[in-house]
């Protein structure tokens, strides 16, 4: 009997059943996808890093190296499992051409490397350690996307190589890792040595990863080579996870919101159904059926909908997963946890089903409240209307009568419109947050959250002999260039911090930090010579706040400093500091020069001019720098933002349509009454439009505020996981405050007009007999 009742019921309310099923399917799909992607991403990263034997600790170093001393250090510490010194030959982009295209404009530090001896392997796309022969070259896997094929030619300073394949680099795969290793044979590497600058990769594998901080301290205390960034295993992992991690986080966020919308959708349709069946329920209760018996019918119906929806969702997730896994598979390779991923996906969907059914059970609790006499007598629940006494038609001078009736209805039946309000708030949120995120990370200012000043051109001078002289040459050229508006020179040098009888080493960037400031999470840039600003990671590690004192050993003398500010930094391993004092020391690790030009010079030409003139420096156009570092991330967030807008509009339209359709069914009697005394269908539609418009406007306001506060914190928290704190949205007002609300409101109005068309079919005579 149950199946008959359920089937009839579904056939009677085809559209409602369909829409509810669609929402559950989408929610299930997204939940399953995020589980599958999450497991695959972490699995793939683990597999990659295990197969590649990624170093636990790596110190990059430019300059002289004392190999014996390093070996002695490694062998004298038991926890060191393996140790090697690899080399990375940094070659100017202009000296490398792939299929005739020069890498001169690449902002990455491109170079060649040898295969690791006992660990830090570069793997082929099957996840196997590459065995490279003379004349062959393996390119980073990202080139596979740029239509470079096996057999293509690469020329490095007149020496030709054939592309033999592509490599996965567990350290430097991510575009956020600034160096890119090309793999050549040992012999070819030696032949190329004069072409570039050698940077040493001093690498350690540990018995236990937990011993990492011990090694870091011991390494510093031993005063070993450290002219370059230090990168540890967890940071490699984070770098590998960022791009896809962001995508997964976004999917997860959207899936949570869709789940909420599904629940609201169910609540609404269920309550409407109960309303419709009110008299019948009353009768069933009156003849002695138990509440549980009546509930069963509803539970059964929704169990079917939930199961069907969830199954469709799982199938959809299974079909879509390869598309989204493509990037993960390309960069990280296969995960070994495929079965686990699908299992976890199913568990996720199972939990979703339980939540939905539990929620339905909860909503059905209202059955208890149905009073038998009221139900039989009136056939509907006697609504408590909240009177808004002073808002009367008699006193209304300005609003057209239909608009007045719409507003009055929303005000008196607030609870009824609450569902629609929440859905529209959520859709506004879904529309605005991703686009704000997109505008934020694609804006020039975003680099300031990452520890990079906002300028037109950035010049890096590193790993070169007589670095100070070269920097001075550069400064001279800039000073004589009439097009230059402003520039600053930041020189980085390592200093020891004296703390609790211990010495810790930090990299301090010296120079004027007020000119091209980064964004400070707290406090300000250092202005006085006794002030210092710390990166978030350093501030955490040294346990310092703004205003705290810190002692640095400068030119063999202990000097007190005050922490003036704390900023986010993802460059150079994230552990940096900024100060303005001068030093007599000559041995700087590297220089960064930021430049802005006067109005509208041909930026590309300027960049080329400097790049050609100073071949030892890496000169980059800051927009290009952003494009190349975050380009793919920005592109995928742009895509996500666009999809989010489309999805949000569709959700809004579906829900509003459903809502208005049910509302007209519920209000059929009132509509018939109004028609009987001369209101037209157009009048009724106008009333529903003003209700929807009123709710939509409030929703847009709340949603926009929520997006810019709560949304900003959520996104800030995600961004914060990779080092950038103090996050604020860069908002494009036209899009966020004008176009998006307008689109949403139009979608709502269109859905209302379609939904209210039912009112036109209501015949007065049909309802007047009641």
């Amino acid at each position: 009997m149950f199946s008959r009742i359920i089937l009839n019921d579904m056939l009677k309310s085809k559209l409602t059943t369909l829409i509810t099923t669609i929402f559950i399917a989408i929610a299930a799909m997204l939940v399953a996808l995020s589980a599958i992607l999450m497991v695959n991403l972490s699995g793939a990263i683990d597999t990659l890093m295990r197969e590649a034997k990624t170093p636990h600790f790596m110190q990059m170093h430019a300059g002289e190296i004392d190999q014996t001393r390093l070996e002695a250090f490694a062998s004298s510490h038991d926890y060191v499992e393996d140790f090697q010194i690899n080399e990375f030959l940094n070659i100017e982009g202009a000296k490398i051409t792939i299929n005739g295209t020069s890498l001169a404009h690449s902002v990455q530090d491109n170079g060649v490397s040898k295969q690791g001896q006992t660990f830090d392997y570069l793997l082929d796309i099957n996840g196997k350690r590459i065995d490279v022969h003379d004349g062959e070259i393996y390119l980073p896997v990202s080139y596979m996307k740029e239509e470079v094929a096996i057999g293509d030619q690469v020329i490095i300073q007149n020496k030709a190589f054939t592309v033999q394949g592509f490599l996965r680099d567990s350290q430097m795969n991510s575009l956020l890792a600034s160096s890119k290793r090309f793999l050549v044979s040992d012999q070819d590497y030696n032949a190329l040595q004069s072409v570039g600058n050698v940077e040493y990769l001093i690498e350690f594998r540990l018995q236990q990863l937990e011993q990492l901080s011990t090694l870091e301290n011991d390494y510093i205390t031993a005063g070993l080579e450290a002219n370059g960034p230090t990168i540890t295993y967890p940071l490699f992992k984070t770098l590998n996870a960022i791009s896809d991690g962001l995508m997964i986080a976004l999917i997860l966020l959207v899936s949570v919101l869709i789940v909420v919308i599904s629940l609201l959708c169910i609540r609404f349709t269920l309550l409407a159904k109960m309303e419709e069946d009110y008299r019948e329920i009353g009768v069933l209760k009156a003849i002695g059926l138990r509440v549980a018996d009546i509930k069963k019918i509803y539970i059964a119906k929704y169990s079917v909908i939930t199961l069907v929806g969830a199954s469709i969702g799982v199938v959809l997730a299974y079909m879509c997963k390869d598309l989204l896994l493509e990037n993960i598979k390309l960069y990280m390779g296969e995960s070994e946890n495929t079965a686990l991923a699908i299992g976890l996906g199913m568990v996720g969907v199972g939990v979703l089903c339980i939540i939905i059914m539990g929620y339905i059970y909860l909503v059905l609790g209202r059955f208890k409240k149905i009073a038998v006499t009221e139900a039989i007598q009136f056939g509907t629940a006697q609504e408590k209307s909240i009177s808004t006494k002073h808002f009367t038609l008699a006193a209304n001078k300005w609003l057209p009568t239909n608009v007045f009736l719409g507003l009055k209805d929303v005000m008196t039946r607030k609870r009824l419109y609450f569902t629609m309000l929440i859905v529209l708030v959520i859709t506004t949120f879904i529309m605005i947050v991703p686009q704000n995120l997109y505008h934020t990370i694609s804006s020039k200012d975003f680099t300031t959250y990452m520890g990079i000043g906002n300028s037109d051109m950035r010049i890096d001078i590193q790993q070169t002999a007589e670095i100070k002289t070269k920097a001075n040459q550069m400064v001279k050229a800039l000073a004589n260039d009439d097009d230059v508006q402003a520039y600053n020179v930041l020189a980085t040098k390592t200093y020891y911090v004296q703390q609790d009888q211990q010495k810790k080493r930090i990299k301090v960037e010296l120079g004027d930090h007020t000119l091209f400031p980064v964004t400070y999470a707290q406090g300000n840039a250092p202005k006085e010579t006794n002030e210092i600003a710390l990166s978030v990671m350093n501030a955490d590690e040294l346990n310092k706040k703004v205003g705290d004192k810190i002692t640095l050993i400068v030119d063999d003398e202990a000097k007190p400093f005050v922490v003036s500010g704390i900023y986010s930094d993802i460059t150079n391993g994230g552990k940096t500091a900024k100060a303005t004092f001068t030093t007599s020391s000559e041995d700087m690790m590297w220089y960064v020069i930021n430049v802005t030009f006067k109005a509208n010079p041909a930026l590309n030409a300027k960049v080329k001019e400097y790049a050609d003139q100073f071949s030892y420096a890496k000169v980059s156009h800051i927009d290009e720098y952003i494009q190349q570092s975050y380009g793919p991330t920005i592109a995928s967030i742009e895509k996500a933002a666009f999809i989010a807008i489309v999805v949000a509009l569709l959700i809004a339209m579906l829900i509003v349509f459903l809502f208005i359709k049910m509302l007209t069914a519920k209000d059929r009697y009132t509509i018939a009454v109004m028609k009987s005394f001369g209101f037209t269908n157009a009048d009724i539609t106008k009333q529903y439009m003003s209700r929807a418009l009123f709710v939509a406007i409030i929703s847009v306001i709340i949603g926009t505020i929520a997006a810019n506060t709560l949304g900003e914190s959520i996104v800030g928290a995600v961004i914060g996981t990779f080092g950038a704190t103090a996050f604020t949205f860069t908002i494009q007002p036209l899009s966020a405050y004008v176009l998006s609300p307008l689109m949403l409101i139009c979608a709502v109005l269109v859905a209302t007009i379609i939904g209210a068309s039912y009112a036109g079919r209501i015949k007065i005579s049909q309802y007047m007999k009641e």
Binding site: E383, S385, T392, L393, A394, T670, F677, T680, I764
Partner: protein, 252 residues
């Protein structure tokens, strides 16, 4: 006197095929301006359907209804709505007032749809009508706080506000106690005496006895009709006896 409503050979069918049901079978009639007409008949005889057809609330399947010189079937939806708003008034069995707005707003609602400019005139007129029907002072009352009789009076005020040519009443006293019913009938009678055409559907011989012309319906047809002199408050029992005699005769 002028004809206000004319029906020519109207047929109304519901459903199709095997389930087709003929509710009005070839009815022709004329109502003159100022008449006070009652339609009587057993349940299912088609009396409400006839009234819906004459007022344009429902379309006829065949035949033609003319209201104040206009053929209803030729009017567009909006023109029909205008006609209902300006020239007809409706009183239903259940008080059909909207819950969300107060009594005064309910009464002025149809008039306010397009005459907002004359807001104060409309309100003044509504207050006069409330006075006449004995509910003055309840303007701001929430309709959930009113008795059935009071609500029906408010419904009458709403129907009268636009000075309609015809008032249609579908069992206007059907849901009221006898005291309220009597009072409401007095008001309706008075409306008619002031010149407005009134057409009521009723089961109640007491109600019908106060009208001047009674159409008795059976099986979708007008079985017979009777006329009475204008009711002046006298001889009610005699009039009722006449009505019930015909009812008995017809087996109603």
């Amino acid at each position: 006197m002028k004809n206000i409503i004319t029906a020519q050979n109207i047929i109304k069918k519901f459903g199709v095929g095997d389930e087709e049901q003929v509710v009005l079978r070839d009815i022709s009639l004329t109502i003159q301006a100022g008449e006070f007409v009652a339609i009587m008949g057993p349940s299912g005889s088609g009396k409400s359907t006839l009234m819906h057809a004459l007022s344009g609330m429902d379309k006829v399947t065949e035949g033609q209804v003319t209201f104040d010189g206009k053929v209803l079937a030729l009017l567009k939806e909006n023109e029909l709505a205008d006609l209902r708003r300006n020239k007809m008034g409706f009183i239903f069995q259940q008080p059909t007032l909207l819950k969300n707005i107060n009594v005064l707003d309910n009464i002025i609602l149809p008039a306010m749809r397009d005459k907002r400019k004359h807001r104060s005139t409309i309100i003044k007129k509504a207050q006069e009508l409330m006075e006449r029907t004995g509910i003055s002072g309840l303007e701001k009352r929430d309709i959930t706080q009113m008795s059935g009789g009071q609500l029906q009076r408010a419904g009458i005020c709403r129907a009268l506000l636009s000075n309609p040519k015809v008032i249609f009443g579908d069992e206007p006293t059907g849901a009221l106690n006898s005291k309220s019913a009597k009072e409401i009938m007095n008001i309706i009678t008075q409306i008619n005496q002031n010149g407005t055409t009134v057409m009521l559907v009723t089961h109640d011989a007491q109600v019908a006895a106060k009208t001047e012309r009674i159409l008795f319906m059976r099986d979708g047809q007008i079985a017979t009709e009777m006329t009475l002199p204008r009711y002046n408050g006298q001889d009610l029992h005699e009039r009722i006896d006449k009505v019930t005699a015909i009812m008995k005769e017809l087996g109603i």
